[in-house]
């Protein structure tokens, strides 16, 4: 960026020479960050680059070892969450901090009650809350309990909460992760509104489309170091990726020799209540079928029914012409179907167990004689995958919780690769994973397809669905509403039309 431009404005926030070490790791090495009034600064970096540590320092959850934080040119102490709040910093973490049974109003003013003894001036608060929502430009019933709100609305309450505390600096950590595309549009609208009020926003996301849409400048972090801060307008998508990863990727989605054979998985009239209604499709040998739709369209539910994670009301599942009897995930696994869940931490991994233990969980009987585990075989099998899928770990005895998202996904992948299933269902395989690791995961999916496996890939990221699949199925309201047979030539627009169509596809 040009220096003159920067000099003309006073920075709202300046973090200078921030360093932070944890036992065994140097998380941040003299990082600088500058945020101006009324701008959106994107913070980009692979997982483990130091973004969250930097944000936690700003929020008072961690204290830096070195470096100073200036707010409006004044050195400010933000070493506790209270101090940080008082300095006008508001942080919206990925997991919301709302109290479910309290009302919107109560949540917004939580901790700001005038004094401990006096009654809460409800009327006054109501008026103030209304004003806050006017500022944001969206109206939410202020007396409804927070657990009755949609995720998008809860997020707006979080934003209102930071505004109520007079925040001038708002940090949003992966704000769109749980939002539908339409809700994300709404969020951008809010961000625009806040910008016009002179608020500075630090925006963290893995979704490059959003970064380009919403940010003015991008600060790149890599391995705890500040790489560069550049104007978004002057960057191309490839520039951004190579700055993040530190090397150039030839293509966002790796190419693959398509060798599609005979049908393997056949699903007929799979149903469960209103969530999944008479879903039928097939996946051929060597084929990657993409399954997409808006949040709540029934994609994940379909996968869970296939895998036996939930009981189906009706429908048949066939593999290689044989009717399968699936009542539980255990049955599905035995019959060569596996599912990589969308939520790795909640459903894919046992976080407090080691990589080795997670790896062998579905494969335990391959590694044991009369219940006794042959630890050597177990370790050997795992080390094969550590090399093959390039897990970046220090030891197989590391706890799964200590890994970055990409490596966690690789651990999940390794356990199913060892299982050698024929049908592999990926539910949001790259959610929360940085660009470099994403590419590797795509390569692995391609390799599996080349081996003749039947692959079903669920994703909300349309470029990913279109870039990876041989065929795309689109769902809405529990039905399959359409199919795109040449996804490489289709546009995101085409998908959105099908995703909002309410009539099931004629079969």
């Amino acid at each position: 960026m040009s220096k003159t431009d920067a000099a003309s404005k006073t920075p709202l926030l300046r973090m200078r020479g921030i360093s932070k070490s944890f036992p065994g790791v140097k998380a941040l090495k003299s990082v600088d960050l500058t945020l101006y009034e009324g701008e959106v600064l994107a913070l980009l970096g692979e997982n483990g680059a130091g973004k969250s540590t930097l944000i936690k320092i700003l929020g008072g959850a961690h204290v830096q070892d070195e470096g100073v934080i200036e707010i409006k040119n004044q050195i400010t102490n933000v070493s506790t969450p209270q101090a940080s709040q008082a300095s006008g910093i508001g942080i919206i973490y990925q997991e919301f901090n709302l109290i479910p049974f309290l009302s919107v109003r109560e949540n917004i003013f939580l901790g700001q009650e005038p004094s401990k003894t006096s009654l809460i001036p409800k009327k006054n608060e109501e008026i103030r809350a209304k004003k806050l929502f006017d500022r944001i430009g969206i109206n939410i019933p202020i007396n409804s309990a927070c657990n009755t709100l949609s995720v998008a609305h809860q997020q707006i309450v979080e934003i209102a909460k930071t505004l109520a505390q007079d925040a001038r600096i708002i940090v949003m950590d992966e704000p769109s992760a749980a939002l539908s595309p339409r809700e994300t549009e709404g969020l951008f609208q809010i961000i625009k509104e806040l910008k016009s009020q002179g608020i500075g926003i630090i925006y963290i996301s893995h979704r490059l489309d959003e970064i380009f849409k919403v940010s003015d400048r991008i600060t790149f972090l890599r391995d705890g170091e500040h790489i560069d801060t550049l104007k978004t307008k002057e960057l191309s998508r490839d520039d951004v990726i190579s700055l993040m990863v530190g090397r150039t990727l030839e293509n966002e989605f790796p190419r693959r020799r398509s060798n599609i054979g005979k049908p393997r998985l056949k699903v007929n009239n799979l149903s469960q209540g209103k969530k999944v209604q008479k879903v039928s499709f097939e996946v051929r040998s060597g084929e990657i079928v993409g399954l997409t739709g808006l949040v709540g369209a029934g994609r994940t539910e379909t996968a869970r029914l296939l895998f036996g994670a939930e009981a189906k009301d009706g429908g048949q599942i066939e593999l290689d012409g044989k009717l399968l009897d699936i009542k539980s995930p255990r049955d599905a696994i035995k019959q060569n179907i596996c599912l990589l869940t969308e939520d790795r931490k909640e459903q894919g991994l046992i976080l407090n167990q080691t990589i080795r233990e997670n790896f062998s969980l579905p494969n335990i009987f391959q590694f044991s004689t009369c219940f006794f585990i042959r630890k050597k075989d177990e370790s050997n099998a795992l080390s094969f995958y550590i090399d093959q899928i390039k897990m970046k770990i220090t030891s197989s005895e590391q706890k799964a919780s200590s890994l970055s998202g990409g490596n966690q996904q690789k651990v999940v992948l390794s356990k199913w690769l060892q299982r050698n299933s024929e049908v592999i269902i990926f539910d949001e395989p790259t959610r929360g994973i940085d660009v470099g690791a994403k590419y590797e995961i795509y390569q692995l999916i391609n390799q599996l397809a080349e081996k003749g496996k039947a692959i079903l890939m669920i994703s909300s990221e349309l470029p990913e669905i279109l870039g990876m699949s041989d065929r795309v199925l689109v769902m809405n309201e529990g039905h399959i509403t359409g199919e795109i047979s040449n996804p490489r030539e289709a546009t995101q627009q085409d998908v959105m039309i099908l995703a909002t169509k309410s009539k099931p596809m004629a079969t």
Binding site: F22, P23, G24, V25, A27, T53, H62, F307, A309, S328, P329, R330, I333, K334, L339, T341, E346, Q347, G348, L349, I350, L351, N352, Q353, E357, S360, L361, P362, I364, F365, S368, F371, F372, I373, S401, S402, K415
Partner: protein, 448 residues
């Protein structure tokens, strides 16, 4: 990495350090001069006497009335006679008895060459022999032999240590199952009642099979009945927890009352006697190397459970279910069966505990086992198993049980009264949980 290992060490062996510290402390405060009037000291004394006295010398053996006195004097008497030394008289009793015996020797003009005595009697003889030998010259040449005195903590006596282990064996055995349940993030409050229930069922089964004169196989069947019935109750609890999704706390609370009530109803509120002393084999017997059978059983079960939890697929499943039941289920772990297994096993072990308790008293007592569930849970928690599930070690529980036993024993030895003991118990549990919290905190710091 150095830092990491240090923390890891603290995690794994923290409780062991506490146990060692407690042992050191109680050893230090219970050091006393020991009178060792037992078989070994008697044998040593015989060697000394045969060396110092010629054959056919006359000797008397004295010991003050105590549990050990009989074996001390019997060994002395028989070994001395074997070595051709004439034991004129053996007295186990009070100093007055000894004076009478010695005076009688003097009156009968029998030459006395030696007195073999324990510490108390030797002190008595020393102070009285001179006076007596003035009247009776035949006593003049008598030499007093006594075992060598030394200082040793009462706590560290072999007998006391075995006692510590024996007293905790029932709690520790049940704690094996409880550890597994708590690792799956559950709890079982019914184990104390199952002890009573199992004891009563065992005793009643023996009575109805063998009447007033039961044979050995009746005892076996009774014991198996007690254990298996409790195993089935555990299985039922497991069913409540898995099929009907009743929280373990509530389900086992219900079973706790039911089992206790049934124990009283079946036994008509009175202890049920078992009319064969052979039933005491498990609770009182010492078949191998002088170790109590209950202690051997406990150590054997811990070894087996340790293998089960660390080396087998079942153990892996139990940890997985506790760590993240949904992820475990989606990885093909039969979560419900794992839960039913741990509750059944715990029921079975509680039943076994009831049999041991009945064996100790040779009675099936509906009042036994009160509050044992809390001691069992305390042993597990003190042993470092987190109530949040997913983490814990069987051997940690063994150490936890020992810590509780050592505190109990040490306080008894040092004369802390029973109400104060409760206060200290409670404090130990709180400290254990605080350490657990500290662990979690340190873990988080490490993870950043």
């Amino acid at each position: 990495m150095k830092n990491f290992n240090y923390i890891q060490f603290l995690f794994d062996y923290g409780t062991l350090i506490v146990l060692a510290g407690l042992c050191c402390f109680f050893s230090y405060v219970t050091v006393e001069e020991q009178s060792t009037a037992n078989t070994t000291s008697a044998e040593k004394l015989v060697k000394k006497i045969t060396k110092d006295l010629p054959k056919n010398s006359n000797i008397i053996v004295l010991a003050r009335q105590s549990n050990e006195a009989v074996e001390f004097t019997e060994t002395l008497t028989s070994k001395l006679s074997q070595n051709k030394i004439k034991v004129y008289k053996t007295i186990v009793g009070q100093p007055a008895d000894a004076r009478k015996a010695i005076t009688e020797l003097g009156k009968n003009r029998i030459k006395l060459h030696g007195i073999a005595a324990d510490k108390h009697m030797a002190n008595f003889a020393k102070s009285n022999l001179e006076k007596l030998s003035a009247t009776y010259p035949d006593l003049k040449r008598a030499i007093i032999f006594q075992p060598e005195n030394f200082y040793w903590p009462n706590f560290l006596k072999r007998e006391n240590l075995l006692n510590v282990m024996k007293q905790i064996s029932v709690v520790a055995i049940i704690a094996i199952g409880m550890t597994m349940i708590i690792i799956t993030a559950g709890i079982d409050l019914s184990v104390g009642s199952l002890i009573a229930f199992s004891g009563v069922v065992t005793a009643l089964a023996i009575q109805s099979l063998g009447g007033n004169n039961p044979e050995i196989w009746h005892l076996w069947i009774g014991a198996l009945a007690g254990a298996i019935v409790c195993g089935l109750i555990g299985m039922f609890t497991g069913g409540l927890v898995t099929i009907f999704r009743i929280p373990a706390f509530i389900a086992t609370l219900g079973i706790m009352f039911i089992a206790k009530g049934l124990a009283f109803i079946f036994s008509d509120s009175a202890p049920v006697p078992i009319d064969n002393e052979a039933f005491g084999w498990l609770g009182r017997g010492r078949t191998f190397f002088g170790l109590p059978n209950s202690v051997i059983l406990m150590l054997g079960l811990f070894f087996t459970a340790h293998l089960l939890m660390t080396k087998t697929s079942i153990g892996r499943y139990i940890y997985a279910v506790g760590g993240n039941p949904e992820a475990a289920r989606l990885s093909g772990v039969p979560v419900k069966w794992v839960l039913v297994f741990v509750y059944t096993l715990t029921g079975l072990l509680a039943g076994l505990g009831g049999v041991m308790e009945a064996s100790l008293h040779i009675t099936g007592d509906p009042k036994s086992g009160d509050l044992v569930e809390l001691k069992v849970i305390a042993a597990v928690v003190v042993g470092g198993t987190s109530l949040a599930g997913g983490q814990g070690r069987i051997l940690g529980t063994l150490i936890g049980a020992f810590i509780i036993a050592v505190i109990n024993n040490g306080m008894n030895l040092t004369g802390v009264e029973s109400h104060m003991q409760k206060v200290i118990y409670g404090s130990v549990i709180l400290v254990a949980v605080l350490i657990d919290q500290l662990k979690i905190h340190l873990m988080k710091l490490k993870k950043y």
